[in-house]
């Protein structure tokens, strides 16, 4: 189910203004100093469209860093669930790909009601990245820079106009309600779209094949000494986990405010030694290298086995937030170098 339209750029703000009547409109804004962050949009013309990877990604709208779950007063427990409608404008293809995986994680088997509520009320409008950042490597994983299916609304910037694609009921509804500003795409539009896609693909600075990295790991060619070196550098900040659009670990805290008790969940990270602390103080993963490996194995080995895709969408956020430069891309490139080296040795032997 995909429907396509053309939207004149002059009409974008009108359309967003209409969407905002029914929902909180969130989009990228430029802050003093030059940072670009997702925020509720007050003045639509201030939306900043030339996007870098935003910190944090849209995960925060579906699974916030701090989320109240319950309030208990006397013997009554109140379920706190945000049902506010939201339109998040300007997310990237990799983010949408990540949300698809998050859906499977949070909604399959045991359905997480808090995620589910937020998810059902969030419309994602993604923009095809025609200018990927140096940190981006989604192209090699197939999670970007544009999506073929399974998005809400996808915009492709064709200069004066957007090619608008909708692939969900909510997405189509958000367009059809204002159909008079949308028009039918022509052959030229599709040709332009194809060109944008091609040129986007050509602009990636990083080419990373996670498949190659995975096979190096599962065939035992990445030794523990390699992981030790990676782990030694780790600052234990948790940034990679907090910012990873696919990391979902949390911990639950209870806080007592007078006669009211609040139960909330907050982001947690498997990179902390206390994360697996057993009652009585035993630390099963006390050595950093075990935790480093756990993170990489989860994303590169276990994810493909269990889910069928990598636990990484190539958004490059860990590259930005890692103070030690032991992020997914850097480590993957190092492992690939090991592989290349090995091939060279084999060639020499032959």
């Amino acid at each position: 189910m995909s429907s396509e339209w053309i939207l004149d750029k002059n009409h974008l703000s009108y359309w967003l203004r209409q969407l905002r009547k029914e929902a909180d409109l969130i989009g990228p804004l430029r802050k003093p100093g030059g940072d670009i962050v997702f925020e509720s949009i007050e003045r639509i013309h201030e939306i900043f469209l030339d996007l870098p990877a935003l910190i944090p990604g849209p995960k925060e709208f579906l699974f916030p860093q701090y989320e109240k779950l319950f309030n208990k007063r006397d013997s009554k427990v109140e379920e706190l669930s945000i049902k506010r409608k939201r339109v998040v404008f300007g997310v990237r293809s990799c983010d949408v790909s990540a949300v698809r995986l998050l859906d499977r994680f949070f909604l399959d088997r045991f359905e997480d009601p808090f995620y589910s509520n937020r998810r059902a009320n969030t419309l994602l409008i993604s923009i095809v990245c025609n200018n990927p950042e140096p940190t981006c490597f989604c192209a090699g994983i197939g999670t970007g820079p544009y999506l073929r299916e399974d998005y809400d609304i996808q915009l492709t910037d064709l200069g004066e106009r957007y090619l608008v694609q909708a692939a969900s009921k909510q997405g189509i509804r958000a367009i059809k309600a204002y159909s008079f500003i949308f028009s039918k795409p022509t052959r030229t539009d599709y040709d332009d779209q194809f060109e944008v896609q091609l040129s986007a693909m050509a602009r990636f600075q990083k080419r990373i094949s996670l498949e190659r990295v995975r096979s190096m790991i599962i065939t035992g060619k990445v030794r523990d000494t390699f992981w030790e070196k990676v782990a030694t550098r780790c600052f234990e900040c948790g940034g990679c986990v907090y910012e990873c659009p696919l990391c979902t670990c949390f911990t639950v805290i209870d806080r007592v405010f007078g006669d009211e008790i609040e139960r909330a969940r907050i982001w947690d990270a498997c990179l902390f030694k206390g994360f697996t602390r057993l009652a009585g103080g035993v630390l099963p993963n006390e050595r950093m290298v075990m935790r480093t490996k756990r993170w990489y194995y989860h994303k590169l080995v276990h994810y493909p086995e269990v889910i069928g895709s990598f636990g990484c969408v190539g958004c490059g956020r860990c590259t930005i937030v890692c103070p030690a430069k032991i992020d997914m891309a850097t480590v993957a490139i190092k492992i690939k170098a090991l592989a290349d080296n090995e091939e060279k040795i084999i060639e020499q032997k032959e």
Binding site: V99, L107, F110, D112, D150, S168, K169, F250, R294
Partner: protein
Amino acid sequence: MKRRSSNRKNNIYLPIKGRIESIVPLTEDVNFYRIRSEKPLSYGVGQFFMVSVWGYGEVPISVCSLPEKPEILELSIRKVGFVTNAIHRLKEGDELWFRGPYGRAFPMELSINRDVILIAGGIGLAPLRAAIHWLIKHRKKVRHISLLYGAKTPSQLLYREEFTQWEKEGIKVVLTVDSPEDGWTANIGVVTTLWHHIDVDFKRAVAYICGPPVMINASMLDLYRFGMPLSNIITTLEAHMKCGVGKCGHCYASEKYICTDGPVFSYEEIKRYRLL
């Protein structure tokens, strides 16, 4: 992008209210709690509940009874951390909230027409108590039953009053401690020194094990050497958990969530996934 229509009936994180009907101290730091639930429950041997004290948090506790009375839950809880200390401060008649049951149960049907060995260390006897009750209930379908149970000291052995009853049902109970106290006549040492006490055909028996990781490892290794099939060696693992439903990530270990894929695993799975 499809939104799944929500098919949930209730919030998986929302605990239900129970009341502590009775508290029996089992050892210095372990209490036995009989809890009456507001709603009927059904659970299997080896499953666990997330027990919740508002203002403190939740902890996973294995159930140590069979669901014979659907509104009654029996738990043995050791005072070891923040939440369990809070539980120990509760009195009879107080609220205790919980949700569950969670996790895989012990495959008790494996024991039918087989010799059964139960191996427990310390608080590890709690989930196996439910197994013993199951075996007693199905006594006719099960062959020899032996329990090898170790603790640090004699006074730290759980369910001492029930041993005679169990023996009456034809269960061979072999006890051992690390440090004996006055009047102790049974064994001294670790449980894996007790194999000569039992007379079973290891190749055709099934074992249920629960205790500290070192004990589990040593027992499983011995049984494996004695020729017990890997899939007949069953244990249950402990892990830090916050949700019990495979979301919080704390108990994740090499592609398995202890809470939803376990906590009961066979030795074969433990080896395959390197869980211990």
